[in-house]
Symmetry: C2
Subunit: 412 residues, 2 copies
């Protein structure tokens, strides 16, 4: 089946999904969860074949870890689907409404996008998460996973489709889009058939989709996040937040990648920071001023641009708040930026002038997350300015429609 | 100056605009209005040169009418700028906010996009409207008008910039982007420098921008709008709305282009509709079933796909509500679709199943408009599903940012 044919089937399924009630969608989610739980053996066997192939190809241990499914990870996927059933349905929410002077009633109502394409990398658990989130928000899903997880993804989707059909929905509501690389290009060209594309993965994948897609895209996730410690900051607070934001889970997009220290504070703070970072196994890539305080890897310009996603941190000393703002303007990916300060005016300038999905004052960047925000489910963190910006929950997976009701009114 | 250089200057101006208060922006709008009023003679002279060139090139009378400025039209532009000063500022609005269990406060706040590019056709009044709307919403504007209005647009922008500078803003907050066709491509390639592109004009322009832009686009305006008269509809109401929606202003995107009549009603309604349409000078392009009721121009398939923007109307008879929904699914541009019905279940199905920015029950499609919705200002009507859908006022010209404030909290 071509991508176009798959998308047409998805559009037809979307019509059913769009007017489905919450009760029927929740029943489907629970049926999908049950079917996935029952398919544990089949999914693990398929995954073992993917892992064996990846190992034979010399794939890195880190990638194989992302690819590998375990009974625990499958239980997590099953649980995720059940959790979705417990969340409110965004579809049908009245965003706002009013009655015109002539009696015409206007309501802006949340509706599904229609067909959502998700392009993602090796993690097979995304298959269940994304399929479930799309279903709950009334969208048909076209899931374009990576070829390295092909068998795992196929086994998961087969289980999800069993659940869908058990609950009376068309299997085409959640489809895997297999095939060679050109298939991704075909998906990006399917304007009019696919309503939105969401790439989830590394910077290369996201950049490719954003630049080449004719289908509207929601850009997610690359986070070169900065932590600026202002003059007069509470140093202990700064250390706690720095270590948490860098080391609590270094592989995620809201982890801190660059530390900027106000020069006034450097003599006192930098030595403590270097000690604490070393104690937590963090490799510091420092500018020459930082090198004066201890042994560091000399930072190249590229270090300040990089999203390490590892226990590495670029560190620079800046002369002022203005210099920090300028540095962030130059290198930020617009994800999450943090200031540690006791100054009301520094906090106000930082939150106003930094152009990012989230700006934090005296809190860890790790809080910028759909789960921490209480969204219950998260499809990703948008770093673009159109539509949704920041963590995307179920309401962000919808569009809206104006429903206008009259009794014969015409325009004067 | 290259587009890139202009965009860089715009980004720098956007930084000032982004943290400007409403009071200073309103003062600038009033200064822009005053400067434009004072420049009336210069603008009219520039416009006369554009019109003379267009006439010499054999441009159609309709296009010259759109190009031509008069003292009245300039007064309208001045008034538009003053009206903007009276509207609330969307920037800084708190969309939602909450406090997490650990005391971390999260607020989602409206912020400007940054730099907005508007690509538009001959009407020079768009120059003042778009410039004013961008300024009020805190965005720097790159205005790419058509070459046919080059001198008029330059004179208008010069006046606006005088007002900006008088009020203490950088002139680069509103810039005209002149030059040959390639300049439009450069604007569409300026990802990272331009935050959003909004094309305003005909289907060809919009399609070009939507397909080729690497900058995120808000698609506006093409409206192949349908009016479906259901079985059992109030025929007099249907006639009133039909004539209003088709003839009150046929050149706009929310005018009706196709009439669909339920077969059960055809014998009674179609003859009355043909009479009323003829009396209002509307040329009917009818399918063979319609032709049985009177003399019509035979409708080709293309007639049902076309946005006439003139006193032309495609008419078809459909066997059922399902057939009407199917016809609309095939030909709709997702702008505004209307049902005239007395049936609660028909209205419910139509509003749920039709995939459009606005769906109307028993009211004229001409109500789908920023002015009629009470928005005070309108940059266009979005027909896409991401970000804004339907009439776009000032809040739709903003993005948002999460501001997260703590007192040292870290993630467990």
């Amino acid at each position: 089946m071509t991508v176009q044919e798959q998308a047409r089937k998805a559009r037809s399924a979307a019509l059913t999904l769009g007017s489905a009630t919450r009760a029927t969608k929740d029943a489907a989610l629970l049926a999908m969860a049950d079917a996935l739980a029952k398919s544990e053996t089949a999914v693990l066997e398929a995954n073992a074949r993917d892992v064996a192939r990846a190992e034979a190809n010399g794939t890195s241990a880190a990638l194989i870890d992302r690819l590998r499914l375990t009974p625990d990870r499958i239980a997590g996927m099953v649980e995720g689907l059940r959790d979705l059933a417990a969340l409110p349905d965004p579809v049908g929410d009245v965003v706002r409404g009013w009655t015109n002077a002539n009696g015409v009633q206007v309501r802006q109502v949340r509706v599904p996008f229609g067909v959502v394409g998700i392009i993602y990398e090796a993690r097979p658990n995304v298959t269940a998460d994304a399929g479930g989130i799309c279903l709950k928000s009334g969208n048909a899903a076209l899931l374009r996973g990576s070829s390295s997880a092909a068998e795992s993804n196929a086994a998961v989707v087969e289980a999800l489709q069993t659940g869908l059909v058990d609950a009376g929905f068309p299997a085409e509501a959640i489809q895997l889009v297999p095939g060679p690389r050109e298939v991704t290009s075909q998906l990006m060209a399917a304007r009019g058939l696919v309503d939105v594309l969401i790439p989830r993965g590394g910077a290369g994948l996201i950049d490719n989709v954003v630049r080449n897609s004719q289908v509207p895209v929601i850009e997610t996730g690359v986070g070169n996040c900065h932590l600026f410690v202002d003059a007069g900051a509470d140093e202990q607070m700064a250390l706690n937040i720095l270590i948490n934001a860098k080391t609590q889970r270094p592989s995620v997009c809201n982890a801190v990648e660059t530390l900027l220290v106000h020069a006034d504070l450097a003599d006192s703070f930098v030595p403590k920071a270097l000690d604490a970072l070393a104690a937590h196994g963090v490799a510091v890539h420092g500018d020459p001023q930082v090198a004066a305080y201890g042994e560091v890897i000399p930072a190249e310009d590229q270090d300040f641009a990089e999203e390490y996603l590892s226990l590495d941190l670029a560190v620079a000393i800046v002369a002022s708040l203005d210099a920090a703002l300028q540095h962030i303007r130059r290198y930020s990916t617009g994800h999450t930026e943090t200031i540690i300060t006791q100054s009301q005016s520094s906090a106000a300038r930082f939150t106003a002038e930094v152009d990012a999905a989230a700006v934090l004052v005296n809190a860890s960047s790790r809080f910028v997350d759909g789960g921490e925000f209480g969204f219950g489910a998260e499809i990703g963190i948008s770093t673009q300015k159109l539509h949704a910006r920041g963590p995307m929950g179920l309401p962000e997976m919808t569009s809206s429609k104006y429903v206008v009701t009259g009794s014969g009114q015409v325009r004067q």
